[in-house]
């Protein structure tokens, strides 16, 4: 397993897409700093009476929300780039224990995505604190617990991407599903009649951050929200169930 992990780490490090994905993450961290500066500027220009009505999304969580998609794509590419190039044949020839290969990929993808998510969350938090200073803008209260959870959800998205890529063996197909869960399904769910719209919405991965923090359902597009323990279980299921299915599929199917 150590050998497989080391090899997969080497692969991830030497894939061009890894650099691009991390570049996008860095870009959005910078963009959040710009947004914080703009908000501070706007706040300063408002008459004091209207300042209390100004609200801005939690910037660390917004940045992590972007990471969901970007690291989801990183997870997809970790396996589909092997299918599209044919490298998978070499990979599974030098290491015929296929579940070990998938576990090693999951390990390195999870570590990179978790690191990216937490670094994003806390860098943006620090930058926003520095820029916004002591201006009491709504939405900028530091929720450390929620930022930690958002970083974990980034990791779950990456694992989901890896699993979907393994199951579908297609970059485009897997990215469409990841993007769908990220933003398209949340929009569609609002069209579903109640109570099902709420019920489905509260199961979506991006809804889980607030639900785990115990603040789900307030002002949320994701519906009324699950209790924290149930939300944790759903989050774990998002990571584990598709990965298990991917492991079975990879072990059973012939390599194309």
């Amino acid at each position: 397993m150590t050998d497989a992990l080391a090899a997969e780490w080497l692969k991830l490090r030497t894939a061009r897409s890894t650099g691009y994905c991390l570049g996008v993450v860095a870009l959005f961290i910078a963009l959040m700093a710009v947004l914080a500066w703009y908000a501070a500027h706007l706040w300063d220009g408002l008459p004091p009476a209207r300042r209390s009505s100004m609200e801005l999304s939690s910037l660390p969580e917004l940045a992590c929300w972007v990471d969901y998609l970007v690291m989801g794509v990183l997870g997809v590419l970790a396996i589909t780039s092997e299918y599209s190039s044919g490298m998978i044949r070499a990979t599974l020839t030098v290491l015929p224990r296929r579940r070990t290969v998938l576990a090693a990929k999951a390990g390195v993808v999870a570590v990179v995505a978790l690191a990216a998510g937490e670094v994003t969350g806390f860098t943006v938090l620090a930058a926003a604190r520095l820029i916004v200073g002591d201006r009491p803008i709504h939405g900028q209260e530091p929720h450390v617990g929620r930022i930690v959870t958002a970083g974990v959800v980034v990791m779950v998205f990456a694992l989901l991407g890896l699993s979907l890529g393994t199951l579908l063996r297609s970059t485009a197909g897997a990215i469409v599903v990841v993007a769908g869960l990220w933003h398209i399904v949340p929009v569609l769910v609002q069209l579903v009649p109640e109570p099902w719209g709420d019920r489905l919405g509260s199961l979506l991965p991006a809804a889980l951050v607030e639900e785990i923090a115990g603040s789900g359902g307030q002002n949320s597009i994701y519906g009324k929200g699950l209790p924290p323990a149930a939300a944790v279980a759903v989050l774990v299921a998002y990571a584990v169930v598709p990965l298990g299915a991917a492991g079975i599929a990879l072990a059973r199917r012939d390599v194309p």
């Binding site: 050998d3 080391a6 692969k11 894939a15 190039s85 020839t93 015929p96 012939d254």
Partner: protein, 329 residues
Amino acid sequence: MTVIRARAEAGIGPPLRSAGGPPYGSVGTVIEVTKLTKRYGDGLAVDRLSFQVRPGHVTGFLGPNGAGKSTTMRVLLGLAAPTSGAALVTGRRYADLRFPMHEVGALLDANAAYGGRTAFDHLRCLARTNRIGPARVAAVLEQVGLAGVGRKRISGFSLGMRQRLGIAAALLGDPGVLMLDEPVNGLDPEGVRWIRELLRALAGEGRTVLVSSHLMSEMELTADRLVIIGRGRLIADTTVRELAERFQRGVLVRTGRGPELARALEAAGASVLVETDGALSVKGLDPVRIGDLAARHAIPVHEVTPRTASLEEAYLALTAGSLEYGAAR
């Protein structure tokens, strides 16, 4: 096993092997395919195929396009599961090998590499899974003539360079068994010759070498043994020499005293045909006997030429009935 691994880890290439028996495995069968069947939907890619490959020879694995060569190799390498039957390498299923690179080196598809990586990184990614260090990676790059482009991205490589890279990957673990699918595709004449010599040298060291091709002319120069398949079935399991003899078309003899020599040859048991230009086409006697007989009868002979059908013709004759994608005739 441990010895081989330690050597590969140390980054030292295969040592020169002196005569004194093959150093790899037993002298018996190394690759063993038994009643192998592989079905895809309605089609049979491989149909009750059985053959063995022994060490110390280059074995050519021949057949027209679509005959099932690649499928058989994919099953041998554990990439595809057999519908029935077995395909074993050194007596085991490939999937059961712990560090397969040290036992089997494979080249399936030269394009099967992620183009964004450098040649060196590509090989390192493969090598690391079997505990092979960077020094060995550098050594095989040198061996296949890619040392100068090791730091270049594979996307810029020609097909010939990719073939060399694929062969480098197969050699990384210094394996006793090599399985190469169409390794000469895309190589220039110099490259074709290089691989021919490499394969013969590897077999000479006692390794088992299985090379697939649809070109008889290439295998004629490279292989000692031939496994010929068509439509997933075994057509011939033979040697290059046997195949040539099987399609022997007699000996051409020219002499000024044709009728006299013909009588002498027929008396010795040969069948003789007189060709339009007066030359004799002799079957049933080899050139040595013919020469001796002519000398005994004091008949001057101008030419004695054994006429073999080219192996290409022999191969086409064998596989004619099993062309998957033949041109209409």
